[in-house]
């Protein structure tokens, strides 16, 4: 299986390294022909507005949307989570998403950078110690449909917000496992989500 990492902007090299540590040689992709050649796709952390604008300018937007709709296994972290959401609560002007998970996300939900944080997160489907998770100007899931599996949540002011979700062959996390050296989320994607 060829796993691509969308390399328009963001921390795509960290995802590539994480794949490598899982024994998978990933490929950075940023043209329509490169995206067409991969069997699965990771959408990295970065600026979701920048990534979606570049995807539109270079003929990737409709292609990626269609491939996700057709069942290509896809994992998005942070900006990637925003981009695989069905809708954004508070989009930047003209900002659209690829879609893939029946959810609405709130951008920068936890606040600005001074509120960015690390926390131990329980992740359904991943055993062992909780996952040390890095949230950077992260989104959360504001609401999601009944077909969405919530794999991890954070409680803020007494209210629970999903931060790791999956639907079909699409996985999304509001945090960045690619920054920690703990590759269990990548393994979960490769072993569980891709084989659904």
């Amino acid at each position: 299986m060829k796993v691509g990492v969308l390399a328009l902007q963001g921390d795509f090299r960290e995802h590539l390294s994480a794949l490598g540590e899982c024994g998978v040689t990933g490929k950075l992709v940023k043209t329509p022909s490169e995206v067409s050649e991969v069997d699965a796709l990771i959408i990295p952390g970065g600026e979701s507005t920048t990534i979606s604008k570049l995807a539109k300018s270079f003929g990737l937007f409709d292609l990626i949307s269609k491939r996700i709709a057709d069942g290509m296994p896809t994992y998005g972290s942070c900006a990637g989570m925003i981009l695989v959401a069905k809708s954004i609560l508070d989009p930047a002007s003209g900002q659209e998403t690829f879609g893939g998970i029946d959810m609405q996300v709130r951008r920068n939900a936890f606040g600005r950078q001074t509120e960015s944080f690390e926390v131990d997160l329980a992740f359904a489907g991943i055993s062992g110690a909780p996952i040390r998770s890095i949230f950077i100007r992260a989104p959360w899931v504001e609401s999601c449909g009944s077909g969405v599996d919530v794999l991890g949540s954070l409680e803020v002011d007494g209210k629970s917000h999903p931060v790791a979700v999956a639907q079909g062959r699409v996985l999304a996390t509001a945090f960045h496992p690619e920054l920690t050296g703990d590759n269990r989320v990548h393994r979960y994607f490769l072993e569980e989500v891709c084989n659904k």
């Binding site: 795509f12 600026e47 997160l121 100007r137």
Partner: protein, 299 residues
């Protein structure tokens, strides 16, 4: 379920991680809400809010300081991408102010008039991350040892002359490559020569890169400049005066974003370079007397 109040804020991974998310992107200097929106629409990954772009600071002279908090807050309200702001070198009280404003990154910048000619800010004392300028590896590592979570090569701001950015990127890259070829016992002398902490020198020698993200800055004015800097090893690009001192700012901004992503594809960079209107006029760095060169500030 985890609670958000069991969290750790302001750790090194969170600060450095923020810069990781900016990689492959362009950070643009803006002086008002209108420019900030143009930058966001063009695909900037962040904006630097300041009262005067470096070209105007250079032209108008005088002491240059942190921007008015009202001006920074207006820009924060207008865009959803990260907002950075500058403080004078060593001016920790300006940095305290910016932290209360919740800007996303502080640039301790030689573009402003230094407040301290000996010490930089102890950046470990802040939850907000800092980016600092550097002209060589030793300077970069000294800033990192003070807590900088991101480095940008200095170049010569406000000139539109890319030559100093080239010099600084080549210098930093060359010094890193030199460390990776050394025997372990040679690294002690290397640390002495670089005037940098041995632990950081050893880390760079082992990994072949800085422990934080390295952007480039100072004189970048065209898509080709951006593509060249990326090929020289920059993780991303700051463009200060180059965009809003040019003819068609919106078009040039979008073009620089495209060139930064597709820096290895000259056809795309060529297309991005078409019909951009007038570039900023610029000043040759060689024509600027040494005491007026901003890159000389910082130690």
């Amino acid at each position: 379920m985890s609670k958000a109040n069991e969290t750790e804020v302001g750790g090194a991974r969170v600060k450095r991680g923020m810069a990781e998310m900016l990689k492959g992107g362009v950070i643009m200097d803006v002086v008002n809400v209108e420019q900030a929106k143009i930058a966001e629409d063009a695909g900037a990954v962040a904006v630097m809010a300041l009262e005067r772009v470096p070209a105007d600071i250079r032209a108008q002279g005088g002491v240059s300081r942190m921007s008015d908090p009202d001006m920074i807050e207006k820009i924060q309200a207008a865009v959803s991408i990260p907002v950075m702001a500058k403080v004078r070198i060593g001016h920790f009280a300006e940095a305290q102010i910016l932290q209360t404003l919740n800007v996303d990154y502080i640039d301790e910048s030689e573009v402003l008039t230094p407040a301290d000619y000996e010490h930089h800010i102890n950046k470990w004392n802040f939850t907000i991350p800092f980016v600092c300028g550097a002209t060589n590896l030793g300077e970069a590592l000294r800033r990192i040892s003070e807590g900088a979570a991101m480095i940008r090569s200095k170049g010569e701001a406000g000139t539109g002359d890319v030559s100093n950015a080239t010099t600084h990127m080549r210098k930093i890259g060359g010094e890193i490559r030199r460390l990776t070829s050394m025997r372990e016992d040679e690294l002690y002398v290397a640390a002495k020569e670089l005037q940098a902490p041995y632990a950081l020198v050893k880390e760079v020698a082992e990994t072949g890169k800085l422990p934080v993200v390295l952007f480039t800055a100072g004189g970048i004015a065209t898509p080709a400049d951006a593509a060249m800097m990326m090929q020289l090893g920059a993780d991303g690009v700051f463009i200060g005066s180059g965009i809003f001192k040019s003819g068609d700012a919106a078009k040039r901004a979008a073009a620089c974003v495209k060139a930064t992503t597709y820096f290895t594809d000259p056809k795309i960079v060529a297309d991005a370079s078409r019909g951009l209107g007038e570039a900023m006029v610029g000043i040759n760095v060689a024509d600027i007397p040494v005491p007026h060169r901003l890159a000389e500030r910082g130690w």
